[in-house]
């Protein structure tokens, strides 16, 4: 479950997709919550027995990442559920970060394995899991635990979760470079039935990171002569704080229309001690066509302010380890918009132990605009006067599911 698309490898091929400057939480950021929120309609139950085969592909800014994800879940005696997931990212990157560093396109592979178990006891579900993510210069282990309980005639469900991550950061081409990160995530969620047609979910999550939070391949830039931009700029390895703490709270509603359709909306507020504040809003409509077809159209808007220590162009080099410097576009002031279209077909088959099959085609078009991250391929302009960078990305997912 990773967290960030680790990408990069070798000093000769820095920052690909991202190794997102912010080593986002690995696995646990998503795994526990998604796995342990109970069925919304009330009454805690074990997850469905199903097998999923997903092909995913991301294509944007000369970066292509694709691969399979296979998930199998099996329940035992109506009280125990176990699952296993195998996920692969095949990365090919010539992103702006790569080409502006003078590196050439590179390829690499990341593999991830997850196992989890759930135990149903009365109106409670206890869950635990483990994920390992491995690639050439980064390895992450994540452990999580979650407990979920129904209240109030099964109209209310509360979930508490904790996840712990231990990462090892390496640098291709530099065998002496080995750093560590410790991550902790604490979360609570409430699902509430508000009416026979309306559901609400409220989630809060606090995450702390401690360790080497830099991307060892990324650099910031500063003017060679602060009084004369025409003298050009120089680059140096970024200087990051060694801790980060963030808080996020999200609220969702889902409403069943008078016909067989559903309207959903959500909002999330995020803030951290690096100075980033972000807002995410989303709206989606789901419509059915006959008993087998489901179509969904969604729109998502996201915006964030920059980190305190981000700058597209610094005046001077960092003076010491506490004089933080970053030029990761993920820390800049930016916004994104996503339009998503999903089509799903499901049919009961009742063949042996197989109950139902489904196939889903999902397409997301993402537009990212950066307000203070320059495109350094614009070499004609003076430092600080280059045109701003923007990019689009296509995300395709093809999902086959078998329920049994």
């Amino acid at each position: 479950m990773l967290i960030y698309w680790r990408v990069n490898s070798a000093c000769t091929r820095p920052f690909a997709l991202s190794r997102t400057r912010l080593r986002q939480l690995p696995a646990f950021a998503l795994l526990s919550l998604l796995q342990f929120f109970p069925n919304v309609a009330g009454a805690v139950t074990l997850p469905e027995e199903r097998a999923d085969a997903l092909y995913h592909r991301y294509d944007g800014d000369n970066v292509t990442i694709d691969g399979p994800s296979l998930l199998v879940r099996k329940n035992f005696k109506e009280t125990v559920s176990v699952s296993a997931n195998y996920y692969v990212d095949n990365v090919s990157s010539a992103s702006i970060d790569v080409v502006t560093s003078g590196a050439s396109e590179y390829s690499e592979r990341r593999e991830e394995v997850s196992v989890s178990g759930e135990y149903l006891y009365g109106k409670s579900i206890f869950s635990a899991g483990y994920t390992n993510s491995d690639e050439s210069d980064y390895e992450a282990d994540t452990y999580y635990f979650s407990a979920s309980q129904d209240f109030f005639g099964d109209l209310t469900n509360v979930t508490f979760g904790y996840a712990r991550g231990d990462d090892e950061v390496r640098q291709n081409g530099n065998d002496d470079f080995v750093e560590e990160i410790e991550r902790n995530a604490y979360r609570v969620g409430i699902s509430q039935v508000l009416s026979p047609r309306l559901l609400m979910a409220l989630n809060y999550e606090a995450i702390t990171d401690e360790g080497y939070l830099n991307n060892p391949y990324r650099v910031y830039r500063y003017l060679t002569d602060p009084l004369d931009p025409s003298a050009g700029f120089q680059q140096a390895t970024e200087v990051y704080p060694d801790t980060r703490t963030s808080d996020a709270a999200g609220l969702k509603f889902l409403y069943h229309m008078p016909w067989r359709g559903a309207l959903g909306t959500s909002y999330r507020y995020f803030t951290d001690d690096w100075g980033i504040d972000a807002h995410t809003a989303e709206i989606g409509y789901t419509h059915t066509f006959g008993p087998h077809w489901i179509a969904e159209l969604r729109y998502r808007y996201y915006e964030q302010g920059q980190a305190d220590f981000y700058s597209d162009l610094f005046q001077f080099a960092s003076q010491d380890e506490k004089d933080f410097r970053a030029r990761d576009k993920e820390l800049s002031e930016m916004s994104s918009q996503t339009v998503s279209l999903y089509v799903n077909y499901e049919r009961k088959i009742g063949f042996g132990p197989m109950d139902k099959v489904g196939v889903s085609l999902q397409y997301d078009f993402i537009m990212l605009d950066y307000d203070n991250f320059s495109d350094l391929r614009d070499t004609e302009a003076l430092p600080g006067e280059e045109k701003l960078f923007d990019m689009d990305a296509d995300v395709i997912k093809v999902l086959f599911t078998l329920w049994y």
Partner: protein, 83 residues
């Protein structure tokens, strides 16, 4: 709208009242307003916040790789959300 806000407020205090149920204050708890036989629409698969966790988790991963924010992505619905 007033009714909706009232229900949200009641839901928000449900847990607190629940904690008092063992101390003689159980009579203060509101009655569940949606009966089991009224939940057939909520049981519709389209009423899951996350119908395909494996796919939505992947998209969340994309966002976390491209944006600074993270967390609080929990969603209702059973099933595993890996990646």
């Amino acid at each position: 709208m007033k009714s909706l806000l009232t229900r949200i407020a009641v839901a928000a205090t449900t847990l607190g009242l629940g904690a008092c149920s063992g101390t003689g204050m159980s009579s203060l708890q509101p009655e569940p307003w949606v009966k089991p036989y009224e939940r057939h629409l909520l049981a519709d698969p389209i009423m899951r916040f996350d119908r395909d966790p494996i796919a939505s988790s992947y998209l969340h991963h994309v966002y976390e790789s491209r944006e600074g924010a993270r967390g609080a992505l929990g969603s209702g619905g059973g099933g595993c959300g890996c990646n």
